[in-house]
Each structure stands twice: as C-alpha cells, then as structure tokens.
C-alpha cells in the first residue's frame, strides 16, 4: 500500500450536549473505514491526544452562547480548510436558543446563586452567524449516515447528498401511513427537512421538527390547518419552539402566533 498522508479531521464543541459528536463514535461498523480514510487529529471526546492543525475538515458542534466562544470560533475557522457545522445547535442555535425569546438575565438570576459570575450572550446563535460555514448538517442529533456522507463528499470533492425535502418523502418511501391523516395527530413532518429516516412517525409519534425547516417550508399553512383542528396559538408556539426554534421559518411562525392577529408574510 502506498503511503499517502491522510486528511486530518478535527471535532470542536461549543454549547451543546455532545450527542452529535457522539454520532461519529457511534459509527461502529464504519469507524474503521473512517479511521482508514482520515486521521482523527483533534477529537477530545474520543482521545486526549491531539495533533496540531491546520485541519482538512473541522466538524463543529454547538451554538455560540458566550463571548469567549464567539471569539474561539474564529480561531477554529482559521485552522480549518473545510468547516462543517453539525447538529441543530450549530445550525440553528439549538434548544438553548429558547433564551432568544426571553430575558437571559432573568434566567441567570433564577438559576445561579451568584449570577454576576456568569458571562453569557443574550442569544444562542448558529455558527454561520459568526463565520463562513462550508456545509450545515442538520439534526438533533445528526444522522450518522448523513455525517459519513458529508465527510465522504468532502474527501471525494463532490456535493453531499443531503436532500432538503420534507420528512414526508422518507416517511412515505418507508411505507408509514401518514399520522396526520390516519389518526389526526399533529406532525411537523410536512415542514421539516428529511434526514432522520422518519423515525417518529414509524413509531406512531408526530414529527418534532428535529432537522429544522425544509426548503420552501410553509409553516403558516400547516399552523392554520392545526388551528382549524383545535390547536390554539399557545400550543402552536410550543410546537414550533423545539430544537430548531430559532431557525427562520419556525421562528417566524412561533412569533406570528404570539402576535394578536396572525397574518401571512
């Protein structure tokens, strides 16, 4: 075998739960192939041993919530050839972006005995609000096969095959009867991007919107339909305020439902 210098991968954590980077370790069957194809140079969740940059691919997990992180992300960008944001936190601000709709100081006062030591930003924001991102891989958590596909695409210098269409496309192809139609369940599938394999509907549970808004999403029409079925505005706000609450179409819809007279843009 010819000895070729393997591309270096780094994994970075910002405000997040670690679940997305865990997807890489979760690759089990494929992990040896990954290690065969790339050098995992910086991945603190897997190993304390680190190799200096620059890195061919940086996977960035988490959102920016502190002044320190807002500065650190620029350093990560400088040492990375390709930077890929992974997960709902890195691509939309995550569940912690619920603070964006409230007063963060009120939270710190409630939670910490000495809030003066807390240095935090008013908003939790996605990585792309701070630096140029080469690709955003959605999901809470991301799908490990999609992660492999993105790494694969960057290594082979091709477009990643990550469709921006609805969860319904996957749900129907899997043969799951629509929960909205067959049971009257509220499901965010029609406005949510595919990628999870439509797991929740397959287990008789409506989609939570973990992969964020699909391309050309129409949450207004879906919300109006739910409203006609008896779901009030308060519940609609909660429906759209999940892991991707701050992703634009979901954010707009939940804010619209909080205003007295919801109107289409």
């Amino acid at each position: 075998m010819k000895s070729v210098k393997k591309p270096k991968i780094a994994v970075w954590k910002f405000a997040s739960c670690d679940g997305c980077q865990l997807s890489l370790l979760d690759c089990e069957d494929e992990l040896l192939d990954v290690v065969g194809a790339v050098e995992i140079a910086y991945f603190l969740e897997a190993s304390r041993a680190t190799i200096k940059g620059p890195y061919n691919i940086s996977l960035v997990e988490g959102s920016i919530t502190t002044p320190h992180d807002a500065e650190r992300i620029h350093r990560v960008r400088r040492v990375s050839k390709h930077l890929i944001a992974i997960g709902a936190c890195a691509t939309a601000g995550g569940i912690q972006a619920l603070r964006n709709f409230a007063d963060v100081e009120q939270f710190t006062r409630m939670v910490y005995p000495n809030p003066q030591y807390i240095s935090t930003l008013n908003k939790s924001t996605p990585i792309s609000d701070h630096i140029k991102v080469d690709f955003e891989l959605r999901g809470c958590p991301i799908n490990k096969y999609q992660l492999l596909e993105v790494i694969n695409a960057f290594l082979n210098e091709r477009q990643p095959l990550i469709p921006a269409y609805s969860v319904c496309m996957e749900c129907k192809q899997a043969g799951t009867p629509c929960l909205m139609v067959s049971r009257g369940a509220a499901c965010l599938g029609p406005v949510t991007q595919a990628g999870c394999g439509a797991i929740c509907p397959a287990h008789q549970r409506g989609c939570f919107g973990c992969y964020g808004p699909k391309e050309a999403a129409n949450p207004f029409a879906l919300a109006e339909y739910f409203k006609g079925g008896g779901i009030n505005d308060e519940k609609l706000v909660r429906l759209f305020r999940g892991f991707n609450a701050f992703a634009d179409p979901f954010r707009q819809e939940s804010e619209r439902r909080q205003s007295p007279e919801p109107v289409r843009d």
């Binding site: 194809a37 596909e149 319904c168 496309m169 043969g175 009867p177 139609v181 391309e215 029409a221």
Partner: protein
C-alpha cells in the same frame, strides 16, 4: 364466470405460493390498510372498512366480515413494480480504470391481490411509459414479466373516489389475470371470478369452482352500475386539458396553492407519479461507487435544479406543475390523463387539498352557469391531537 367461496379463494393463495409467487395484498397495519405480503385470506382486512375525506382516513370495523369492502389506502402497487429505492449498478476502480458491475435484476415473482380498477389503469399507464418503444426500463420489465394480477371490482366507492370521471372504474377494464367481485348472497360470502389471461384461466381450472348463475351475474352487473353512481368526487374532464394548458398565469393558482406545504405526499401516494432521481454514492476511499434510483417529486426544490439554481422556486409553480402535468400535459406526453381517479392525493394530503375542487374551479370560471364538478359528502374534520 365462476363462483369462489372463502376456501377456494384461500386455495388460490396456496397455489400462487406453490408456483413461487410472492403474494402481495391489502392488510391492516398502523391504522390503515396497506399493501404487504399476505399468506392467506386471514391476512386480508377481514371485516374492516374505511372512511375517507380530504386529509382524513379512519379504519372502521364492520360485522359482515367482508375481505374487500374498503377503498385504496396510502400504498399503491408502484412500491413493488417501481420500488422507492433501486440500485442500478456498482462501480469500482481497477488498474487505473473504472469497472462497472451491473446489478442483477430481481427474480422475485409478484402476485398482486386486490388491485382496484383505478390502480389497474395506473399499472397500464406505467406499462406504456416503461415498456413502450426504445425507452424500456429493464427493472420494471423484469418485475412486470411474471406478474399475476387479481383485480377486485369496487362495489362501495369512497368519499374521495372519482374513477368514473376518469373512465377507469368501478369495473376492471383490461390487464388482469383474474377479476373478483365480492358478494354476500343469502348469508353466502363468495367471489364472482372471471379470467383475463391464459394464466388466469389455468388458475381457475386448478381451483375447480362452480359456474355462476345468470341471475347472479345480472345482480352483480346491477350492483356495479349502482357503484358507479356512488363516487364521492367527480371531475369534468371534457375541455379540462385545454383549460389547464391555458391557465399558466391564472391568479387562481395563488389561492389553490396557498395551503400547499410542498411536502410531496400527493406524488408519493399517486399510483402514476414515477419521477425519480439518480444518485451516486461513493465509499470513503473513493474506490467504489453505487448508483441508486430513488423516488423524487416535483414538489422538491432539487427536482428542478439546473445549472444556476432551482427553476421552480415557489410552491405555486410546483403545485401548478403537478396539477397541469397530471391532468393536461400528460395527455400529450403519454396519450392519456395521468390521473386515474383513485383519490389518494385528496385523502393523503396532510392538509386536505382536493384536486377535484381545483379542477372544478377552472371549469366554473369558464362556464359559470353550467353544472359544476361537485364535491359532496364533506364531513367536519376531527379535532387533532396536539403533539406536546
């Protein structure tokens, strides 16, 4: 025409399995009647029926114990003849060259039980598209070659059915091996069976069933005639293709598509929609690649992606494309309407958009005084269950 009872019908399942067929038919799963493997009459939706409305489907148990007293569910037979995902070929690098490894076509023989007349027409449309002339889809050809089709006539059309408008039902036309009509006669539960092919005739011979009386045949004809009048929906198709062809700038599209989520459900459940995308998947080392065909939809942005961007950006343009292709330009392209009147797109649209209503509006606009394409028997929607 012969008369089968439950036992002889069950013998047909056994005979098909013995001949090496994978038997696919309707069965109850996840609150719906879906299409899957069925081993005997016991796997059929015995005693089940359904209520359908725009955006709503509910299973219901009834006492008579009928096998086929329901209308189409969310699945169509294209799942088996034109699968959602298909590997076309593999490729690998070898001595500086690329070697193509063709994918072996399936040798699975399918017997489809309970194909409704509208779906039979849909298979006919796919036959014309995939088997005609020079553009033969080899995978479809292999799956189609050994197909055994048992059609079932519809005596109880649903709320979203409009096959009479499209000229496809409720009595099966051509293209089946056997056709059944389920009858309850003086506490007798039986199936009037006719044949449409040599294979069908051989099967009936094997089952050794008695011939049906002329009186019963007449009764059956009367019931099917009555069924034709029980459609929950209808479309006026005369002039419709022309109207839609000229509708490009019609402001009504705005209204018609306002509720559309561009989720693609209508195209997934449609028995004739066959758009697919072709994807190449590589391994991490770039040594091997696989070409996969996957169902796609004109409601997806990437579907109309060409150099420079997505051609159909708005949901309006996607919805208009789907309706006008299905009911108008399909005729020029493939020689028939692309719609068979099965009603799935109406029932399985998560927000209940009704293609017959949209088509009817164009008719009304042109001829305000004429009888409009009626949409009847609408029921109030049930209260939805909130997710959190």
């Amino acid at each position: 025409m012969v008369l089968l009872d439950r036992n002889t019908l069950n013998q047909m399942f056994e005979a098909l399995a013995e001949s090496g067929f994978t038997v696919i038919g309707p069965t109850v799963r996840d609150n719906a009647i879906v299409l899957d493997r069925v081993n005997s009459i016991n796997d059929l939706p015995v005693g089940w029926t359904d209520d359908q409305e725009r955006g709503a489907y509910r299973l219901k148990q009834e006492t008579a114990g009928a096998f086929f007293n329901f209308t189409n569910g969310p699945h169509s037979w294209k799942r088996f003849l034109y699968p959602p995902q298909l590997t076309l070929f593999n490729a690998r690098r070898r001595n500086g060259d690329i070697e193509l490894i063709p994918e072996k076509p399936t040798d699975e023989k399918f017997a489809l039980i309970g194909v409704r007349p509208c779906d039979l027409a849909a298979i006919g449309i796919h036959d014309r598209i995939f088997l005609k002339d020079h553009h033969v889809d080899t995978d479809y050809r292999e799956r189609r070659k050994n197909l055994f089709i048992v059609a079932v006539n519809c005596l109880n059309p649903g709320n979203t059915c409009f096959c009479t408008s499209m000229g496809t039902g409720p009595t099966a036309g051509t293209g089946y091996d056997l056709v059944l009509t389920e009858l309850f006669d003086e506490d007798q539960h039986h199936f009037l069976a006719g044949t449409g092919s040599v294979a069908g005739t051989k099967m009936l011979e094997k089952l050794s069933a008695p011939p049906a009386s002329p009186a019963l045949l007449h009764h059956c004809d009367e019931m099917l005639k009555e069924a034709a009048t029980k459609m929950g929906r209808n479309i006026r198709t005369d002039e419709l293709a022309d109207m839609l062809r000229e509708s490009f700038d019609d402001p009504y599209w705005q209204e018609a598509s306002a509720a559309c989520l561009s989720c693609g459900n209508c195209t997934m459940v449609c028995p004739t929609c066959f758009c697919a995308t072709v994807e190449d998947v590589t391994d991490l080392t770039g040594e091997t690649a696989t070409r996969v065909r996957r169902w796609d939809s004109c409601f997806n942005g990437e579907f109309s992606y060409i150099h420079g961007g997505i051609l159909r950006q708005s949901t309006l343009s996607r919805y208009r494309q789907w309706v006008t292709h299905k009911l108008s330009s399909w005729e020029e392209q493939f020689g028939s309407s692309g719609c068979v009147g099965c009603g799935r797109c109406i029932t399985w649209c998560p927000v209940g958009i009704d293609i017959t209503e949209v088509a009817g509006k164009f008719w009304e606009k042109k001829y305000p005084s004429r009888k409009k394409a009626a949409t009847k028997r609408q029921q109030p929607r049930e209260v939805l269950i909130p997710v959190n």
